[in-house]
Symmetry: C2
Subunit: 427 residues, 2 copies
């Protein structure tokens, strides 16, 4: 085996593979033959024999002694080129790289298919939580309807802390950074891009077709304020950053998929409502299974190393049976692209917080405007006036997103409306 990368996850994986007592005996059949790093002279937490750690990564991926390449570099390049080259040289691939797979899965799966090698990527989604393999194997008979997931630990931590009253978004983000739950540049997490990468992978797997990442709608949590969390609470919801992939139906036939990431009001009694802190959870709904949920640590060296190393053991087990014939359930035969519905076509409930000027008839005007576009309201909460502004919070019934947006545009143009600070979808 050749491992590329010896950062947090790489180190965790090597430590785990070397600590074999009381673990699966198959471990004894695995040799860490090479570990590729950028800087040879950096001090390392793990002890490996001389000559194992080298800095020529290209040599590792083409080394005839190597059967399996474990890519733990992260990011797109040089990971992409190295993985493609490894596949050309007939190596099986294990990766934890969600960005690589969500952006270049197409290219990688096609190459792997031609070369007849495995690509395993349990660690790319949900850290240590088994989800890729259960979807492929344990739920293989099902027609999947929906995948609804909390798959970004940083944002879930921030939202949970805000929910518990620990401060504003900025305060909590700073705390999260100090605790190591958020990166120095947290934008990929905060903006929803990380979750978009992951839901694209889950959607391609659950719905058996490739996903164009640029068609996945995503929206981050920057606009979630403490006041929205309080309103949501009063209305019976918690706010979560959800990643959703859904098979829409039209005339009872499968229509295009809806694949999206956005802050969402989740009813308190929903299984995802109580997933707090850095934990992740993936709720899968299928036929005939009904609802199943996978819950656990979505990040961290140990959890991710668990997923990577279990992929290694399972790959070794399959290769022991045959190095030529692959297990058809474990390959990625995605020959078509899944069609994705544009976000305007989404049918959903909305939550909107609207600031209005001091005028008694404003609720009536809102109602008229919403009614014009077919938006009916499930609940309306109006507060007293402060600084000559009142706050109106509405939750709509199901509505086409495009219609709701148009209604809102018209509402925002009314003299009596000051602004609309928050608009969230409701599960």
């Amino acid at each position: 085996m050749g491992i590329l990368g010896l950062g947090t996850v790489g180190t965790g994986t090597v430590e785990l593979l070397l600590d074999s007592t009381g673990r699966n005996p198959l471990l004894s059949e695995i040799e860490i033959y090479r570990v590729g790093v950028r800087e040879l002279n950096k001090p390392r937490k793990v002890k490996l024999p001389d000559g194992v750690i080298i800095n020529d990564l290209n040599a590792i991926v083409s080394d005839p002694q190597v059967d399996i390449i474990v890519e733990l570099i992260g990011g797109v390049e040089p990971a992409r080129s190295l993985v493609l080259r490894a596949i050309q040289f007939g190596k099986h691939i294990i990766t934890a790289n969600k960005a690589l797979i969500s952006r270049f899965g197409d290219e990688i799966f096609t190459a792997a298919d031609q070369a007849g090698v495995y690509v395993m990527l349990e660690a790319a989604v949900g850290g240590g939580i088994p989800v890729i393999r259960p979807l492929k194997e344990s739920l293989s008979i099902n027609r999947i309807n929906t995948v609804t997931a909390i798959i970004n630990g940083t944002t879930n931590y921030i939202l949970t802390q805000m929910q518990m009253g620990s401060g504003s978004f900025d305060d909590v983000l700073t705390d999260a950074q100090n605790l190591g739950y958020a990166e120095a540049d947290p934008s990929a997490d905060i903006d929803g891009l990380d979750a978009a990468d992951k839901i694209a992978i889950l959607a391609s797997l659950a719905f058996n077709g490739r996903i164009r990442l640029e068609e996945v709608y995503y929206e981050g949590i920057c606009k979630v304020s403490k006041i929205d969390i309080v309103y949501a609470e009063k209305l019976g919801f918690v706010i979560k950053l959800l990643a959703i992939a859904q098979q829409d139906k039209k005339d009872n036939l499968p229509a295009p998929l809806s694949v999206r990431v956005h802050p969402t009001l989740v009813p308190k009694e929903h299984p995802l409502a109580s997933i707090n802190g850095i934990y992740n959870a993936i709720l899968v709904e299928g036929e005939p299974i009904g609802q199943v949920m996978f819950f656990g640590p979505g990040a961290g060296a140990g959890a991710t190393a668990s997923a990577v190393s279990s992929d290694i053991l399972n790959m070794v087990a399959e290769l022991k049976i045959s190095a030529q014939t692959l297990n058809p359930i474990l390959t990625w035969k995605l020959h078509k692209h899944n069609e994705i519905t544009p976000i305007e076509e989404l049918i959903t409930r909305f939550y909107a917080r609207i600031l209005t000027r001091d005028e008694p008839s404003v609720v009536g005007k809102l109602g008229t405007c919403f009614g014009k576009y077919g938006v009916s309201l499930e609940s309306v909460v109006q507060t007293g006036f402060q600084d000559k502004l009142a706050e109106i919070v509405v939750v709509t019934h199901d509505v086409r997103e495009g219609d709701f947006r148009q209604a809102l545009k018209e509402i925002e143009s009314l003299d009596t409306i000051h602004s609309t600070p928050s608009i969230f979808r409701v599960l």
Copy 2:
């Protein structure tokens, strides 16, 4: 493939296998060659070609045309004899039969090992929830510390309904029977035996050794009263029937396992506290994974058929690679028996509800008596007197069960003590 049994799960499985549109294409490679039933002339929901449904089950398990036997009869006999005979004839086995595996797993796995055939049993534990396969595969690198599970839907439904104030144990049980959530003879569920079967299977898998079912302690939910649920609620707990398998440590080395089923006070913020109704959940704690939980429908024709049929697909996938060499991760090489700690040696917290006669110093006497046996109290709640009796509810700190029982025996012998209607363990 030969299927034994065409009851609820058998019918669900056949329906699923015949409804292939939009499901895994491997389905096309599976032929339902024979279905064995007891009564040939019973009307059936599924349509199969003439001659497929027969009543000579012995002929099916020895038929050279059959590669895979799917045992869905349930119960011990004739399931056991048929499965063993099928193994002798070189058939691979899929079963949903927890009682068979928990009692005769020993015999069956040994025979399968000698014959070189698979035994897959995802449906035996947790209905449709993927848990056997994830433990074997996705968590294969981990050292498992604890499995804590709600794996009996009937009792969880009853406890949830009682929690929601829907009536007494007897009322709710009657409702559950009317709704089909409890059987006409519900004793195996209510008494904890069903959960004991399942935790024995999970324990043998998680801790890689055989379990003697007779060493698994189990206790049912008959003694859980509404008043206990109310006290538990006040103290911050919900009462759940938990099945627990735990690797105890002594001097930091693995000691015997603790494997048991009993009503348990679960802290409200614990992931299992919010698993309600007929749902099941299995919480696994391991190193390095941390906590992962699998949640879903623990019973029902569709969910169980999902597990059985996914086992079928996966077995077919493995057999396509090789019918001779088995995947070593999917076999059951359990060469030793796991040692089990007797329940008296358990270290746990206790909840006890004690009825005392009208006497002011009773709490002091209780404290003295408990203290004598090293039982220290975490909380004490005393109510007013009704009919000359007062109720005292205590929650202890961690204590050896044997010591607690001795203290309680002495307490019950005190003149001032009327009785101890409820004693539960606390998670």
